[in-house]
Symmetry: C2
Subunit: 225 residues, 2 copies
């Protein structure tokens, strides 16, 4: 019996990436909800460097950092593959995963700032979204359902962590609508395709509660800065 | 006949990572030196998103981003392995590679700043170096020759790109000595071990020329800011 435990938090996009991957693979696991303002001693022992969720514990060994956990899941449970087998296609997938990882912090800065500074991050974020629209989700007339083609992959899980949280939080909490539909038809279609996958759909935090939580966080952040 | 070409620049740490990996594997390749102020049309065609070196071209297909190239090299040419085969040890290697990737930009900021702002980045960098000293290069009495143990691995290549450039550039160009030997005995020993590996030793840019180049870059940067 393989023991799989996930130390996570249901509002964290990074935590959800791991839940999605495990469920897409059909791996049973125990979910351990961490209180982020009072993390468990076990979590701090498992991730002494970053002290962050998510941490996956497999047969007693901890694995940290959401995208590293996803690569581990893919290597350990090969069923329902989430990365292509062709080495060159794997490279392309990893390129966009890295892009997603770098895009996240830029977009989050819109949430932490206001005024002129926020405008700068908005501009940078729009550039990045344009790159995804034009270069990752199809070129010319070609359109793709998911980043890798017809099947959901780790690239979708990487971007999915931004799609639900960032775009919705930024629109409803910060008041900036980034994804005007006519400018980003492919991204718009991708978000719909992504959220229609049952495992994703059934494992997203409640939108209203999420917006409320982030609204409170932003007020606290702006008041203290 | 497999055709392997590397679009790089001999002063770039990211480019050297790829040269080291190819030479450690014994893969013959053609080196195409790029002028970074006048990049070749081929490079821009191969890496339209970031327009950066290094780009590895294998049987006509381009691979971008130094650490993604290194993972590709490891998957494509399994001889002289540069990642452990044990899945959990792979996770640990990838964790420190990610750490190296995140440490780089913080340390480079010391090069781009001065005064109080520089002091902030120095403090952050020292925290990161302390984490490596205490948690990546051995715990308690245990000391390791390389990050993974007795053999050089992708983790060493990831950190090596910072060791030669950053520490030397920051000491000689910026005038900040980060690695006081008595505080960082393991890191100090690791740098010596790393530079003694023949492939590394024979493929490092000339130190004086490097310092001169970066000195000029820093003067330009500070003058324009």
């Amino acid at each position: 019996m393989e023991e799989v435990k996930l130390h996570g938090n249901c509002f964290s996009p990074f935590s959800c990436r791991v839940t999605w991957a495990l469920k897409l693979k059909g791996i049973p696991f125990e979910n351990i909800e961490e209180d982020l303002s009072n993390k468990s001693p076990l979590l701090l022992q498992y991730n002494p460097v970053n002290k962050q969720i998510p941490v996956l514990v497999h047969v007693g060994k901890p694995i940290c950092e959401s995208m590293i956990i996803l690569e581990y899941i893919e290597e350990t449970w090969p069923q329902n593959p989430l990365l292509p087998t062709d080495p060159f296609e794997r490279v392309v997938a990893r390129f966009w995963i890295k892009f997603a990882e770098e895009m996240g912090p830029t977009m989050w800065m819109m949430f932490r700032t206001s005024g002129e500074e926020q405008e700068k991050f908005k501009k940078e974020s729009l550039e990045m979204l344009k790159t995804i629209e034009e270069m990752a989700l199809g070129v010319g007339d070609h359109e793709k359902k998911f980043f890798g083609g017809d099947q959901i992959s780790l690239v979708d899980l990487a971007f999915g962590a931004h799609a639900h949280w960032l775009l919705e939080v930024i629109e409803k909490v910060v008041g900036v609508k980034l994804l005007e539909d006519h400018k980003f038809p492919r991204l718009h279609a991708w978000i719909q395709n992504f959220k229609q996958v049952p495992v994703i759909n059934q494992n997203l935090p409640d939108s209203d509660q999420m917006v409320l939580t982030f609204k409170r966080n932003r007020e606290r952040l702006l008041a203290s800065s």
